[in-house]
């Protein structure tokens, strides 16, 4: 099944065979491509459509197409046997499911996060000041920041005032991948 959100072909349990009115036509005629639909809201294609006209077929690769129509035939055969008693069947063997079938739906943001992790792999940022103070490069970076304070005339050293709120300071260490960030 081609998932247009993740742009991946993936196997899924959630395949619905919507043989809506088996009585209206002979199932042998539409062995081509009964309307397979993802549980989402694809409009049901006409049952007389052959696989080329069906909207789903356009998005699936040829190999997938074959598998899908096989499943579809299977589904319609089943439907034929038991008439109107059901319209949903998972003909997909459970042992062929890749991954956890009960895992929740994943959206693009899931993969986006994975990508951003790749950038972090090459980054080593000290978590504490002591860690940074043992590395010449980071001492230099801190010194540079304090020079910036001097240039901007940020503060004056004074003796501790009484009854005043003294705000703590903290170093934040970052690896910059480019000048902008």
């Amino acid at each position: 099944m081609y998932n247009s959100e993740t742009l991946c072909v993936e196997e899924s349990m959630h395949v619905k065979f919507g043989d809506k009115e088996p009585g209206s036509e002979t199932p042998e005629q539409d062995e081509s491509f009964a309307d397979i639909q993802v549980t989402e809201d694809t409009p049901e294609p006409d049952q007389t459509n052959d696989s080329e006209d069906s909207p789903k077929a356009e998005t699936t690769s040829e190999a997938q197409d074959e598998v899908a129509s096989d499943e579809a035939q299977d589904g319609s055969r089943q439907a034929n046997q038991s008439k109107n008693t059901f319209n949903y069947k998972s003909s997909h063997p459970e042992d062929q499911i890749i991954g956890n079938k009960d895992s929740p739906r994943r959206t693009r943001s899931y993969f986006r996060q994975e990508e951003s992790m790749i950038g972090l792999l090459s980054v080593i940022e000290p978590a504490t000041v002591d860690e940074a103070l043992s590395d010449g490069g980071w001492i230099l970076a801190m010194q540079e920041e304090l020079n910036q304070f001097q240039r901007n005339d940020v503060w004056d050293l004074v003796s501790k005032p009484h009854q005043k709120n003294i705000i703590g300071t903290k170093w934040v260490f970052r690896n910059k991948l480019n000048e902008q960030s």
């Binding site: 980071w138 970076a141 050293l157 170093w171 260490f173």
Partner: protein, 114 residues
């Protein structure tokens, strides 16, 4: 490239004592798009600038004291603290202080507020 930034722990600041005004406008993406399309329609040349350590430029009005940066304590004056003249990253009024500085500069240079 390694970057170390000293930030103030502004979350212990108390409103009315350590800071008063915190409002500062920021550009929304829509406003930037509007500007870009205006620029293109009128053939204006647009420049982009970056201010390094921008918050260190904002003048601070309130009396704010901060502790010495960890790892850079002064052994001669162990009990001294820093009194701020400019704002620091992490302070509640830091964005506001920079906004005041920038808008004052622009108005002085005959820009008009929309």
């Amino acid at each position: 490239m390694n970057k170390a930034r000293l930030v103030a722990q502004g979350y212990i600041q108390q409103e009315g004592i350590d800071y008063t005004e915190t409002f500062a406008p920021v550009a929304r993406l829509e406003a930037i798009r509007l500007l870009l399309s205006h620029v293109i329609n009128h053939g204006i040349i647009l420049y982009q600038m970056d201010v390094k350590s921008v918050f260190l430029n904002g003048v601070i009005e309130e009396e704010v004291y901060v502790k010495k940066p960890p790892g850079f304590e002064d052994l001669k004056h162990p009990d001294h603290v820093y009194k701020l003249k400019k704002s620091l990253y992490g302070l509640k009024q830091a964005p506001r202080a920079w906004y005041d500085k920038l808008s004052n500069f622009l108005i002085k240079n005959h820009f008009k507020r929309g």
